[in-house]
């Protein structure tokens, strides 16, 4: 009786260990995690978006994986930025815009574009980095601390720690630690963009949205930002809109190709760039249009 129990326990432990190993290998391969829904961060169902009467997005369906970098590519005007700005409800700032469909944010499964959901609560969970660096004309410190302050954190020590952490995580700390009181506009363009990233990650966002973050920067600054984005996927789910296909190929795990407001193809980046299933995708990435 006791022996049976012992064998049973042993089997269970072994089974558990094996499962754990499998889980590990999973992560090491960096493949798309299969657990549902915990490993999907955003599930977009039939998303359409209208600027007044103009339909800018048409029935988008996509599942964005957690802790991965998803790139959105496509020609100008295809709706990539429009899609990105649905995720943090930026469109709500302007009247006459309308959504239909669902964007489910996991783990809690709320529908981001539900009218009942306060966009402020979404924006606190989904940070955004814009095309042109747009730091506030305040001190470097104030820029990073701003998000924390509006979250209600007042304790000086917590703020200091968090600001330092965010600046280190955005590879800016060494360059600015002696001049945190200086105006953010005394920084170079690339530094300003990293400051904007620091400002966004200080809020511990679950999703970080990049809207062509390097299009206004020189190649050196661009490569620094790209390294940074690669690091960031340890902390957060990254979605990046980019004009630059090489950039998408270099940094992303998944790539979505959009064309005229529709999602044409979404797959692992290698697949999209080596063996796309859709003729349109192939034409775009080989430079036949766009």
């Amino acid at each position: 009786m006791v022996r049976n129990l012992a064998i049973k326990t042993l089997n269970m432990v072994q089974k558990k260990l094996k499962e754990d190993q499998e889980d590990d290998s999973f992560n090491r391969k960096d493949s798309m995690p299969k657990k549902e829904p915990g490993d999907i961060k955003l599930e977009v169902e039939d998303l359409s978006f209208f600027y007044g009467n103009v339909q800018a997005l048409k029935n988008i369906n996509i599942k964005i994986p957690s802790y991965q970098i998803t790139a959105i590519i496509g020609a100008s005007g295809c709706g990539k930025t429009t899609f990105l700005r649905c995720i943090n409800r930026m469109h709500d700032l302007y009247s006459k815009n309308g959504y239909s469909g669902k964007i489910i944010l996991y783990p809690d499964g709320i529908n981001i574009i539900d009218k009942k959901v306060d966009p402020i609560s979404i924006r606190m969970r989904a940070g955004m980095v814009f095309q042109k660096p747009n730091p506030f004309p305040k001190s470097i410190y104030e820029n990073v601390a701003y998000g924390l302050k509006i979250k209600g954190i007042k304790d000086k020590k917590t703020l200091d720690e968090k600001v330092e952490w965010a600046l280190r995580a955005s590879a800016l700390w060494e360059e600015v630690k002696d001049r945190l009181k200086e105006n953010a506009y005394s920084l170079s363009g690339g530094q300003q963009q990293r400051l904007c990233i620091a400002r966004a990650i200080a809020m511990d966002p679950e999703v970080l949205l990049f809207d062509e973050p390097t299009s206004a920067l020189d190649p050196v600054s661009t490569s620094k930002i790209e390294e940074l984005i690669l690091e960031l996927k340890q902390h957060t789910t990254v979605i990046i809109v980019t004009h630059n296909m090489q950039q998408a190929a270099r940094i992303s795990d998944y790539t979505a190709f959009m064309h005229l407001g529709e999602l044409v193809e979404f797959d692992r980046t290698e697949k999209i760039f080596t063996n796309p299933s859709n003729k349109l995708t192939e034409d775009y990435i080989t430079g036949r249009f766009g």
Partner: protein
Amino acid sequence: MSKGSVEAQQHLLYRIKKLRFMDTVFEALGIIAVFLVMTFIFAIILDLFMDGLRRLSLGFLTSYPSRFPEKAGILSAWVGTIYVMAGAVFWSVILGVPAGIYLEEYARKNWLTSIIEININNLAAVPSIIYGLLALGIFVYRLGFGESILTGGLTLGFLMLPVIVVATRESIKRIPQSIREAAYSMGATKWETVRDHVIPYSAGGILTGVIIAASRAIGETAPLITIGALTFIAFLPPSPIKADFPFVSWDSFVEMLKSPFTVIPIQMFNWISRPQKEFHENAAAAGLVLIALTLVMNSLALFLRYKVRRRVKW
């Protein structure tokens, strides 16, 4: 090189020469215009100096008006000017700045806001005496404020209002939309965005607008005469600031608001309309004081603009 192209070349050189000549002509015209303007301004100031400098003294600033020109001073006038201007700045800022912020940040852009916008721009061009008539009807009679400092402040405040609304809106418009989006993207509410970004970044422009509006209003005579400001005041309004604790007195403040007043330009008008030459000298001296006050205010505006521009840049 073919013959045709040589000719073309020569024609081009001729054209350039002609245009260069026009450059010189226009520059000369510009210099003449600037010279005329400067001469005119200097002539006014020089004239005031020659007439009034002799009368300008500490005694002139600390004496009440008198029927003896050599004893007369502008004490009640400059004190009145300061009280009325304080009131005018107060009313125009507490009404104008929020109105400007509302119109720029909150109001939807539709036909109604367009009408409001056109109206406010037109108000800036309404002759000041019309404001005086309005104030006479509303503040003096309807609301019963009388010919008081309160009425004077409100009248000039309303006169300044459209300029301040426009200055506020222009200043807010200069803030790039990307800055607002940055704030909103971090989860700031509209009020947080306005409080933390819109107001601080536009403060310099608003302040400059306030001071410019104030330096126009300080010289206004017509609307104050219309509301019945007196030309002869031989006493000061009660001071709301006291020597002993708690240093301010509400009752004296109310008394001050209710008291009659005069201002420097009205005092000047009064003196200039008298036959004696000595009174004309007094008017010139008062004019110098008024110009000095305006210059101080304008320099303050320049300084503030410089300070804030250095802090806020995109």
